[in-house]
Each structure stands twice: as structure tokens, then as C-alpha cells.
Symmetry: C2
Subunit: 206 residues, 2 copies
DNA sequence: CTTGATTTACGTTTCAGTCAAGTAATCTAA
DNA sequence: TTAGATTACTTGACTGAAACGTAAATCAAG
């Protein structure tokens, strides 16, 4: 028997096994190139070079550019999402809890060049709409849900006004990242704090 | 004298004059293709076809793709900016004035595919930063200034609270367009109204 | 020595940018 | 009125570079 410690392990397939590190290097390279060069300027050759692999190796594992990028976005966002522990709301002032939650939503938390990446995804929405779908499903939606759950929880605790349009407030809060970047070319470190400060009178239970 | 009614007109240069309609058709085609295909997927051949012109004609007037796109963005944003008349603040409730102002900022007011266009510009920011510069200077900055002037004016009239962080409020208001699009894939018609409603308690003079 | 992973080398396509030849429009001068 | 000069536009073709995707050769692991 070639089974390992887990009992129902498959027998190792014949032939040379795949280098287990390659997938990770390639996925990382894809995300980096996508953020810097954008989808259509990004080339398989560059990705292969970044990953320290040759081009056909990539074609062996993924059918083409599209699927490669989809896989990379999917993996990257899943990982990032899994790395976010829930936030503790007890014992901190409500305004600080909202600030902390918004700070966690910053596009800069994941990739440094995340805004360029978002731009690439947006630019591709007529041509490769799957990118936006993945982006929405694995990046935007979980973050927004998290923010909305926090607001809802604070609302239940009577820390926020009861007639709050939570959906709309969340859109306002999240949107300021994009507006800040588009206006100034960067996302300021104190943006989340300033945004919540400015918005606070509209949401706090008086 | 070949001078026209305006006295100091230049003498017409010799040779066949340029077709005056071509520039316009080409600029329009560039904006359209940029919004749909993005910068690097967009081809001169497609633009020429859309404009009903041959490729060498484009190269006769613009040195290359870059300059072509820069010229098109520049012209397009200048025009759109010039088409916005000032807003009358008298005789309307302050909240409606802010709503009206924000509605005018909608990316959908200009090109229909404006978000794709913005995505293309963002995606290109490492490779062709001039695009973002033009975008900031001729599209974002004037709009934001307009919004901030309106808020300031209302503040002077004691319709908004005096300790307002106008800059931050403007970022919040403008950003909701991007957040809405990224979340849902469209910009809802009532977004401006809902955003101002949600934000109103934070900014109105009580 | 068989099998599959990886690489080196190749063919094809696409597109930017250029060029040459022919046609069209406008001005000037005879 | 007409002939020439000058510039704009079209058609068609060409070059070179970039990049996709593949086929043949090579390499590790049983």
C-alpha cells in the first residue's frame, strides 16, 4: 500500500510529479502583473519569467490567459478573505469600532497595487465579465457584508440610530477609498478615520 | 485680401483643406473604443473604421496611439465640462440643491460607458500616467470643485453646519458612484438622492 | 523503460507604424 | 478658363516586434 497517514489517500500517479511550488509562484505573478500591467497588456511570458517557469508549463496547467487570471483572482481573494478575523465590538466606543471595520476594507490591505488591479478588472467588464463576477463575489461582497453586519450589530445595541439606511451608508463609506484614489492618486492613511468622523453625526444614536 | 469678417483671419494655407469633420469622428471613436476595449486592446484600425477614415489619415494628424488617446480624453472632458451650467441655489431647499449637484456628477452624465472608460484609465496608471493626469485635471477636479463650492455656499448661508469637513464630505458623496457600480454593476438612478438622504443628518445645520 | 513534467525552439497572428501611388480639393498664375 | 502647384485622403502593401499557442526534445521519478 502506498497510502499515507490519512487512510484514503490516492495512490501516487505514475510519472514525474508536478513541482508543488509552481502553482503558488504563478498565481502570485499573475496578481502582480495584473495590477501593474492590466489584463490585456499582461503577457504569459512575463508571468512565466516572474514565476521562474517556462511558458509551456503554464499552458499545461491552465488552458489560457483567461482561466489563468480567473484562477489567480479566485485564489487570491479567497486567501485574503480567510485571513480576516472577526472584529470584537465589546469594550470599544462605537465610532472606533466603525473606524476599525472600515480600515480593514482598505484596498491597500491586500495587494499594494490593488487600485490598479481594480481598474484592470473594471476596464475588462465588457470583454471578460468573469473577472468582475469573481471580484464581486470574493472581494467586494464579503467585505461589504462584514461592514454591514457590524453596523447592524451596533444598531441592535442602540449605538446607531434606528432609522439608518445601512446599505447606503456602507456604499458611502466604501466608496471613499475609490474617490480618494481617483482624486489624489493615493489612499491616505487617515482616510477611514476622517470619513467616519465626517459621517458620524448622520449615523450615531444621538 | 483673403481675410474674412473677423479682420485678422489667417490666409488660408495652400492645398486641399482638411476635412473638418474627421477630427470629431476620430475623437469620438477613440473614446468609444477606449471605454469598451481599453487602451491596449483598442487598435488604430478599429478606430479608423469606426470613424469612417483610413489608417494613414489618423497617423497624419496624430503621432501615435498615445497622443491620440490623450487628445481624445482632453477634448472629451473639456467639452463635457463646458456643457455644465452653474446651478441655481436660490429658492430650493438645501437638501435638494445638494442632490441636484451630486446628480450632475454622475459618471453616466457623459459617456454611457463611462465606468469602463474610468477603469481603462485607472488600469493604465503605471504605463500611461498622462491619462490619469488629464482625467484628474479635466474630469474629476472641476466636478469636485463644483460640488465643494456648492457646499461652501450653503454653509455660508447657514444651511449646513459650520464645522463641516467639506473635502471629506465631497469624497464620500462622489465615491458612492464607484462603490455602487463596483457592488452592483450599475449606477442606480436614485443613488444621488439616497446618498444625500443618508448623509443629510451629518451635514445639515440642525 | 515508461510516464508525465518541463523546456527549447518554432509557426502563426496581430498590430503599430511607414511608404508609395493614385485621386480629390483648393489656391495661384497665366 | 485653364494649367500647375500644393496639400489631404484612400488604397494597398510592407516591416518589425510582440505575443499566443504548439510540437519536438529533454528531464525526473517510479
Amino acid at each position: 500500500m502506498t497510502e499515507g497517514v490519512e487512510g484514503t489517500r490516492q495512490a501516487r500517479p505514475p510519472g514525474r510529479p508536478r513541482d508543488p511550488g509552481i502553482e503558488d509562484m504563478v498565481m502570485r505573478a499573475v496578481i502582480g502583473r495584473l495590477a501593474v500591467d492590466g489584463y490585456s497588456r499582461m503577457t504569459i511570458a512575463d508571468i512565466a519569467a516572474d514565476a521562474g517557469v517556462s511558458r509551456p508549463t503554464i499552458y499545461r496547467r491552465w488552458p489560457g490567459k483567461r482561466d489563468l487570471v480567473i484562477a489567480a483572482l479566485d485564489l487570491s481573494f479567497r486567501r485574503e478573505q480567510a485571513s480576516l478575523p472577526p472584529l470584537d465590538l465589546d469594550g470599544v466606543p462605537a465610532i472606533d469600532a466603525v473606524k476599525a471595520e472600515l480600515r480593514r476594507l482598505s484596498p491597500n490591505n491586500g495587494e499594494r497595487r490593488a487600485v490598479g488591479l481594480i481598474g484592470s478588472v473594471l476596464a475588462e467588464d465588457t470583454h471578460t465579465p468573469e473577472l468582475i463576477h469573481i471580484f464581486r463575489e470574493h472581494a467586494i461582497e464579503p467585505r461589504m457584508r462584514r461592514l454591514m453586519e457590524t453596523l447592524q450589530e451596533l444598531q441592535w445595541r442602540r449605538r446607531l440610530r434606528s432609522d439608518l439606511d445601512i446599505d447606503q451608508i456602507s456604499t458611502l463609506l466604501y466608496g471613499c477609498y475609490f474617490a480618494d484614489y481617483i482624486r489624489t492618486g493615493e489612499i491616505h492613511a487617515d482616510l477611514a478615520d476622517r470619513a467616519v468622523d465626517a459621517l458620524w453625526p448622520a449615523i450615531s444614536a444621538e
